[in-house]
């Protein structure tokens, strides 16, 4: 009796279609099959504790840490309450900061879009032949190794002004590497046996790329997206600090203005917003990744 009900439960849980061979369904009912997702307190408690510690350390730094550790006055690092109060509850400051965030978001997202298109095209090209990979890879590594600061003078003499273009350039330069390497890794990750299948039926290079390599690469590509998304926000902020000209006063510029007036709470407020933007794009790509590949991708991570 109990066997029958277990089996029936299993069928429901596995959601197989009608006419499924019960023996086969049984084959799938493994004793270590993961239970239905339950609410787990540890998912809340851990982050909550860490958050409290973070706020606590911050508060301590404000009250005595700055003086004890760096021999500097506490106002250089205002308390968390002051930062939130001054930056986000006064309407004028809030709108200044949010307006800055808007421009930074525009540059970061535009930059990320171009980075993705450019980086993936480059990776696809490099995946076509070993010689292409060998020829291009060294330049990418070089790009990664050059400090942006070192080429700022060149960028400014090329673009002649502030505004969008030089900022995008910096943003792309900083964020492109992970996209290329992850896409390239993904495209070459399909296993030999799967390639043999396509060879057997005489598949064209295009068919192989589109039906085998690209889908196989998706999990790695999404990992690249997530890393580059965070970097594109950094790139946008760095870019606007170097190229302040133009009407687009991004969050980096707004922060710098406040700093020059010694208004530190607003500076940290801007920092929090820039971090929030980075976290938001990171989470977005995590969500997108689960939506697109979550139903088939089996991360080879060990259960903890």
């Amino acid at each position: 009796m109990s066997v029958t009900s277990t089996q029936a439960d299993a069928v429901t849980a596995l959601d197989v279609g009608p006419g499924a061979d019960p023996d086969l369904v049984q084959e799938l009912v493994r004793p270590n099959a993961p239970a239905k997702a339950r609410f787990e307190w540890t998912r809340i408690i851990g982050p909550a504790i860490v958050f409290c510690c973070f706020i606590g350390v911050w508060e301590w730094m404000h009250r005595s840490g700055m003086r004890l550790l760096f021999d500097k006055p506490g106002f250089l690092l205002p308390s968390p309450a002051t930062v939130v109060d001054i930056s986000f509850t006064t309407a004028l400051t809030r709108s200044n900061l949010l307006n800055g965030l808007k421009w930074t978001t525009v540059v970061a997202l535009l930059g990320l879009g171009i980075t993705i298109a450019l980086g993936m095209s480059l990776a696809i090209l490099m995946a076509q032949a070993k010689w292409a990979e060998r020829s291009f890879y060294i330049y990418l590594v070089a790009l990664q190794a050059i400090p942006v600061l070192a080429i700022v003078p060149i960028i400014s003499s090329v673009f002649q002004e502030g505004g969008l273009k030089p900022r995008l350039f910096v943003c792309i330069m900083i964020s492109i590497f992970p996209i290329v390497t992850n896409t390239l890794f993904g495209l070459t990750s399909a296993d030999v046996g799967q390639h043999d299948l396509f060879t057997l039926r005489g598949a064209s290079r295009w068919t192989r790329l589109w039906k085998l390599q690209f889908p196989a690469a998706l999990p790695a590509i999404f990992t690249g997206f997530r890393i580059s998304a965070g970097l594109s926000v950094i790139g946008a902020v760095v870019g606007e600090q170097f190229f302040r000209g133009g009407a687009m006063k991004g969050i980096g510029i707004v922060m710098e203005d406040y700093r020059q007036k010694n208004r530190y709470p607003q500076v940290y407020g801007g920092l929090l917003l820039a971090a929030a933007l980075g976290i938001a794009v990171f989470l977005f790509f995590g969500w997108l990744s689960r939506r697109v590949v979550g139903h088939w991708y089996e991360a080879s991570r060990k259960p903890t």
């Binding site: 197989v16 279609g17 084959e27 296993d191 046996g193 005489g202 088939w296």
Partner: protein, 257 residues
Amino acid sequence: MTATTFERMTDATTAPALSFSGVSMIFPDGTHALRETTFDVHPGEFVTVVGPSGCGKSTLLRIASGLNAPSSGSVTVDRSKLGYVFQDATLLQWRSVLRNVELMAELEGIPKAERHKRAMEAIQLVGLTGFESKYPKQLSGGMKMRASLARSLVLNPDVFLFDEPFGAVDEITRERLNDEVISLFQLSGFAGLFITHSISEAVFLSTRVLVMSARPGRIVASFDIPFAYPRPPELRFDPAFAELSGQISHELRGAHS
């Protein structure tokens, strides 16, 4: 039922579906995998090759399918209707069972409606009905192999190559899959070439068993298996079955030295 030289086995009345003639294989790294291998597989024949591991059995199939070109000798086969089941199921993880089974037909350019129909039939033949929308990560090892079988069936193969397909599944599942292969063989009458290192699997499935020597591999013995199809599971406990298995085992031990 006694060991015969394999040259004797080439006298058949029909034209062979698959024919190896003096095939040798030396890989670029110098590995001598196959030496002067000659044999035919006729339509309606199920030939299994047993041999010590690393003797070039898999190379035989890769050459038959055109994945590798032989160093010398030639293979005659119509590759337009060739089924090939690998050691691993090699399913595409991002495709459901149905879309995986459709793959070969899709690559062959068979129209969508037709390949869907064929895929559903193949899924039913291998007993995976109800699992069409599952993804590989949700399947057991045996079920993945069933899906892999179905994927090749969609092309209605005249020649069906099996590269040690059930080596990784448990004994019970292997026996069930063997029954499945036999019923498919009876149903569609393809010419089968099966690789295994299990003697009992070889005897149970085949009309003929070839024994290969250690590397460089060549055929050293051939056994006709006289049992009528369909073959019941109890056949494995038949004295005649044991006798044949013993002879093949003896040859195989000789092949090792």
